[in-house]
Symmetry: C2
Subunit: 335 residues, 2 copies
């Protein structure tokens, strides 16, 4: 993908000059225009109509990008709750909100490019962080304002992000099971390339190590952040010779599936099997039994990310920040 | 509020000519420009920067407006589900989605005006319908493409809307209680100016009438579409001398509050009190007991509204349509 930056480099002008040439700004000399247009042609760069708005002032809009498949994501109560937090802040600041609808990585990437090149938004909030994410790489390359809800997979110090201390939380919640005498503890997480899964799993592993318990690779399961993911994980675990007695589940909606599948097989929680969970979405108090889970303050994650992004869009020089939202364990009846 | 239409009328030109004058289009004669500018001055019409984009082509974006307070709305699983349906269709069509974040009527109205005058979106989906709604009136006045999820409060035949047959559904679900011998049946609905509440309540009343049961005004309660709304409704009902034995609740999240509050007071469902509900969001199968509820196909309501809106934005001559999504009763254990 040829960018304005490439055109700027080749023609020896600044990217904003290129934008002005595209917008046919009268303050740019014909000579410069010629030079830039030649570079554009040489590189095969075709600005779309919206790119002509690049020199426009603030759009007073921000983009919110959900992980691949908004269709799936919106089934998990995490997302409406984080959107609530974002919405409250951007509304206060009189910004509008543009929501991604893409399903595949390709589609989402295309959507983000449209937002950026079309200058539809002043900045972007990514509601996920995963290894080698193309969208993140693109936004860095373009030097476009963005904030991650989650921990970036690299260049941590150059990126503003809002996260929980998921490693610590993972360790603490696993200890809840260890303290009750559990020794065979499995971990059920989301996709293994998501940083949040990695962090929570690392916390789980640290807790096992500290307690002198053995790590068992067949006890680490990665699935989708859906009820069905939880059901599948249980089916696999029940097929093992040595079944675990404790489960660390990294998402309440997965836990819902875990509970329903265990119930079907006649397992009783917490008598036959104990379970701890993450997120504290509202359904965690209506499951039977109600879940012992980590309250990660989802609303606050959203609100703080929006605040940080607006600061960044208003002031380009705003330094990168790491904002950690405190978590706390909510004790209910699943252990 | 002075609109482009008013300016057009006074100066005797078409609204699009006014837009072109605002955009200082060279194809408009100086004479026309003078005439239009005079009318603008006379009427006190001040186009903002974005209004200059009015002659621009399609924005390939649609706006989605939630009922007052996105902050509250997003707590109800109805909204993420309807957004999922909308998202899937507009994504397929390569449109983007702009979500309202306003809390009060004033704020939402202002947001919609910004979307329309700023030409940020090609069309708007209203996720509610209420009596004398200012947003609906404004969109009609502007002749801006919009679709309602719900039934319009007036000009039904001129408005495209996607709805369930809520009257019929309300009647059928009330009959579930009557057929089991209940005679004292209360109705708990959302705000009384919402058309959906009115329709479902009318169905409830019709069912009572047909069965020769008496209507009781103290059995009609209107509250917020939240768990807390359900709790408050129960508190009121328990304070009555003649307590109902059956409840028709027009929203699953309200039902969740109803159940939790009844449980606290030692009432058992369905033994002491039966309950039927509406919407069939996923939490209706995890409550204890699981809810007998009307499946209104929320995802389909969203998808069909987006399809209808895109048709309208592509083809201005598309006739107004009434799209009724079938409902069905899901029988579980709350009766």
């Amino acid at each position: 993908m040829v960018t304005i930056k490439d055109v700027a480099k080749l023609s020896g002008v600044s990217p904003s000059t290129v934008s002005r040439v595209i917008a046919d700004n009268p303050r740019i000399t014909e000579e410069t225009k010629k030079k830039v247009r030649k570079a554009m042609k040489q590189l095969g760069y075709h600005p779309n109509i919206s790119a002509r708005n690049l020199v426009a002032k603030s759009t007073k809009a921000i983009g919110v990008i959900m992980p691949s498949s908004a269709n799936t994501a919106l089934q998990n109560p995490f997302f409406p709750e984080v959107l609530r937090g974002i919405g409250s802040v951007i509304h206060e600041a009189r910004y509008s909100l543009s929501l991604s609808t893409g399903e595949t990585d390709d589609e989402i990437c295309e959507e983000v490019k449209r937002m950026v090149f079309g200058r539809y938004v002043d900045g972007i909030i990514l509601l996920y962080s995963r290894l080698n994410d193309r969208v993140t790489n693109f936004l860095r390359e373009q030097d476009f304002p963005f904030v991650i809800v989650g921990k970036p997979y690299e260049n941590e110090s150059e990126t503003t992000y809002v996260d929980n201390d998921n490693l610590k939380a993972g360790k603490e919640i696993t200890k809840c099971l260890i303290d009750k005498g559990h020794e065979k503890i499995a971990f059920i997480g989301g996709s293994s390339d998501l940083i949040v899964t990695k962090d929570r799993q690392d916390g789980y592993i640290e807790a096992l190590k500290e307690a002198g318990l053995e790590e068992n690779d067949s006890y680490k399961i990665h699935t989708e952040f859906l009820k069905s993911g939880g059901r599948e994980a249980v089916e696999y675990l029940l097929s093992l010779k040595e079944k675990p007695t404790g489960l660390v589940v990294s998402d309440d909606l997965i836990s819902l599936g875990v509970i329903s599948r265990l119930e079907e097989s006649g397992y009783s929680i917490p008598d036959d099997l104990s379970l701890v969970s993450f997120n504290n979405v509202y359904l965690s108090e209506i499951t039977r039994p109600p879940l012992t889970t980590v309250d990660i303050q989802i609303y606050e994650l959203g609100a703080q990310s929006a605040k940080a992004l607006i600061e960044k869009t208003v002031n380009k020089g705003e330094p990168a920040k790491r904002i950690i939202i405190p978590h706390k364990i909510v004790y209910r009846d699943s252990v």
